[in-house]
Amino acid sequence: MVTRLIARVGLMYPGDPESLAIVRGAGGFSRLSQDELAQVTVTRVEAGDFCDDIPVESLPLYLERGLVEHVEVSE
């Protein structure tokens, strides 16, 4: 069994480490320039999808609110 993160609501977040670095460097999506926006990819998950790659800075609040959960699944 392995522990995975599952979304309980729809989520959107930077889709890869390079995109996350661009968003973090700018201080958030609302601060991205048009050029930076063009370089960013976005991951969309729906409720019930796995979201193991959710940015670590978002995880504590979303766990606290029950928007994501740790679940045990077969390997």
Binding site: M12, F29, S30, V42, Y62
Partner: protein
């Protein structure tokens, strides 16, 4: 101080009907606090007191009468028993600008006026009384035509609550040497424990308490922030970074062709990195379509609108959110 003329009146949609196309000449809305007589036998002067209730009314006049499909007459001819969803914006049809929304606007009067003379075109007026709350919010999706999936976050336009023009800037008198530091305000701060604020302009505090902080309420004029301050600070102010009384999302679809479905969502974020669904509107398959959905509890700092279409075609949609 911004001033707005008729060219800034950017949105007027009633139940999914775009009424700006009918060239409305005048529009007014009023919110009145209801008073109740408080006098009695023996009094020599009349007295009144606030009842705690408010009522809202709206009037639009001078629109050209239009009985084409999906136009003004179709929108307004229904009986007074129909509860309408109404959204309008007087400061421009732009993401981040304010809008007013209402669910529960009942048409109390609809006049069609035909006359001869210098202005012979037939006109139409409508008056609404409201049952329920008039919401003041922010536009998340400007009334615009879309032909594919879209998201206002990745288009560069998420809305930040801390720069909302409807915010009240609360002054700070000082913050103390303490862990956590105690912030004192000269006026009631109105905060709830756990709420987030954006503090700025505080001088000399070491370390600084400027930035986004989660508060713990101590009294009406004091709260603490989780900073171990060793040199007291003075001055500064704060605005809210989260709201705690939920809110209402509005979506109006005024045109729809080709697509087999459209799902609009309002998403929120505390950190502007990960966004979560806040409101999911019902799948739309035809226009006109309108919906208001409410949420309770904390609403985070950043909001955006996401549109997911099925098939190929085009639609015209407006969306906004009002914090309560």
């Amino acid at each position: 101080m911004p001033r707005y003329g008729s060219n800034s009146f950017g949105v007027l949609i009633v139940d999914g009907y775009d009424l700006l196309a009918t060239k409305v000449k005048g529009f007014a809305y009023k919110v009145a606090s209801l008073m109740e007589p408080t006098g009695g036998l023996g009094d020599t002067t009349k007295s009144k007191g606030p009842s705690g209730l408010q009522e809202a009314s709206l009037n639009q006049d001078g629109a050209f009468f239009d009985d084409a499909a999906n136009s003004g007459h179709a929108a307004l001819k229904a009986s007074t028993a129909v509860s309408r969803i109404l959204t309008f914006a007087i400061a421009g049809n732009t993401i981040g600008q304010p809008f007013v929304g209402m669910s529960g606007a009942y048409t109390m009067a609809y006049e069609v006026i035909a006359k001869s003379g210098s202005s012979p075109m037939t006109k139409a007026n409508a008056a609404y009384d409201a049952s329920g709350q008039l919401d003041n919010g922010v536009i998340l999706q400007d009334h615009a035509t879309k032909t594919a999936d879209f998201n206002t976050k990745t288009l560069g336009s998420p809305v930040d609550y801390t720069v909302d023009r409807g915010q009240t800037v609360i002054p700070i008198t000082s913050n103390s040497i303490a862990n956590p530091s105690v912030v004192t305000t000269p006026v009631p701060h109105g905060l709830t424990t756990g709420q987030k604020v954006l503090i700025s302009g505080v001088a000399t505090s070491n370390p600084t308490i400027n930035g986004e902080r989660t508060v713990t309420v101590i009294s009406a004029t004091q709260f603490s922030v989780p900073v171990n301050v060793t040199v007291a600070g003075t001055g500064g102010s704060f605005v809210l970074a989260t709201s705690v009384n939920g809110g209402a999302g509005y979506q109006q679809v005024t045109a729809f062709s080709g697509f087999t479905g459209f799902v609009g969502k309002i998403r929120s974020s505390a950190d502007d990195v990960t966004y979560a669904d806040l409101i999911t509107f019902t799948n739309v398959t035809a226009a006109p379509a309108k919906e208001q959905k409410t949420v309770a509890g904390t609403v985070d700092r950043y909001l955006c609108f996401d549109g997911d279409v099925t098939g190929t075609g085009s639609l015209k949609v407006f969306a906004g959110f009002a914090r309560r």
